[in-house]
């Protein structure tokens, strides 16, 4: 069972593009984590390990083009390799939805990126759905409902 503490998406310029917290933290603690982890991970060499220890927990990260996906995980409860797979599944799902996802897609459709993440990981940090197909079906259903709402409004 995975219990991710948080997931951050940081660009290689150090800008936070997405963040999702699965454990209650104060704004100060959240800022500290972001300020500590961003330089720590950006300065790591490509051949360095993707898992590192930070304070009382471990951090797993993976780089996709100019974006770093960073996950805080619970010691002795989460599997580091499984977390890497979850990150990869998140990226794959966004890639299928947007069609070759890029930073611009996430900036302009951050709501969709969050929707995909929420379908994948539950609010307690455990995995909700592992099937990419299922996640995409749900997201497309959400889009259809939203589109119908707009259509009703236009036609009303």
């Amino acid at each position: 069972m995975s219990h991710i503490k948080y997931l951050l998406l940081v660009s290689r310029q150090g800008k936070v593009r997405l963040m999702q917290w699965y454990t209650p933290l104060t704004p100060k603690q959240k800022t500290k984590i972001i300020n500590d982890l961003t330089p720590l991970i950006l300065t790591r060499k490509p051949k360095m390990c993707n898992i590192l220890e930070y304070n009382d927990h471990k951090v797993v990260y993976r780089r996709y083009a100019s974006l770093y996906f960073i996950c805080g995980i619970t010691n002795n409860q989460d599997n580091e390799l499984l977390t890497l797979e979850i990150i990869h599944r998140f990226v794959e799902t966004m890639d299928t939805y947007f069609g070759n996802v890029c930073e611009l897609d996430i900036i302009f459709h951050f709501d969709k990126a969050y929707d995909i993440l929420n379908e994948l990981i539950m609010c307690d940090g455990s995995m909700a759905e592992s099937s990419k197909k299922e996640i995409l079906n749900n997201i497309h259903a959400m889009d259809a409902i939203q589109n119908n709402d707009h259509l009703d409004r236009v036609l009303s």
């Binding site: 150090g14 300065t43 707009h150 409004r153 236009v154 036609l155």
Partner: protein, 235 residues
């Protein structure tokens, strides 16, 4: 203040090379203008992505020494210009001591791209320099101009493609949204009457989203469309 200017500075570059670099980066914007190789200001260019378009002015400058040029540029006399800049692009060799690049060259709301057009630098070395800059919260990004590839080992865009990506992801204050549909949906061409109505509805929906929904224009548009569709359906 509206940040709608990009300043590009060349160090000892011939007019032909200058124009070639400008075309590499801003080629898509210059097609509709009468840009001449020795122009120093090109106004009202349009930068387009799949999500937005924005108007900007391109300022072109030349210098013999980047150090002297930046000293002049950070002078309070240039405050007005710096406040209007979305970004600064410097074309010249990257200095050996990058710590000398002052953070005050551009502020946090602008980007600074330093394009190296001298001897080839290893991509790893360039990556290390950029990481150092990102960690120091500096807005500078180093890019190698003469790259044979568009992407490095991590599928990062490099060279002019990276410059375009930085301009794409810049937070333009006055951009115009294009209402691109989410996901990979495509509007199909009409094949019969029902499909043409559906296409019209889809287009109407996109147009309606671009209007201020509380305005009388939006209300009028919605009512006219509803009437037109009802007529077509024979209601």
């Amino acid at each position: 203040m509206k940040r709608d200017k990009i300043l590009i500075v060349f160090k000892n570059t011939s007019t032909t090379d200058k124009a070639s670099i400008i075309y590499q980066i801003f080629g898509q914007c210059l097609q509709e203008t009468n840009f001449k190789n020795d122009d120093s200001i090109v106004k009202n260019l349009t930068w387009s992505t799949k999500y937005y378009t924005t108007k900007f002015d391109l300022y072109i400058d030349q210098c013999d020494s980047i150090e002297e040029w930046t000293t002049d540029f950070i002078d309070p006399m240039c405050d007005l210009l710096r406040d209007a800049l979305a970004g600064l692009i410097i074309i010249g060799e990257i200095p050996k001591d990058t710590s000398l690049i002052s953070k005050s060259v551009v502020d946090q709301e602008s980007f600074l791209i330093w394009c190296h057009n001298g001897n080839q630098i290893e991509l790893n070395e360039l990556d290390d320099l950029n990481l150092k800059m990102a960690v120091s919260q500096s807005q500078v990004e180093f890019v190698q101009l003469d790259n044979s590839t568009d992407k490095n080992d991590y599928h990062d865009k490099v060279g002019t493609e990276r410059i375009k990506e930085i301009i794409d992801t810049y937070e333009w204050t006055h951009s115009k949204s294009l209402n691109t549909p989410r996901g990979q949906k495509k509007v199909l061409p009409p094949q019969d009457n029902l499909e043409s109505i559906l296409t019209q509805l889809q287009q109407a929906k996109l147009h309606y989203e671009s209007l201020d929904t509380d305005s009388t224009d939006a209300e009028q548009f919605a009512s006219e469309l509803a009437k037109e569709i009802a007529d077509k359906l024979g209601l």
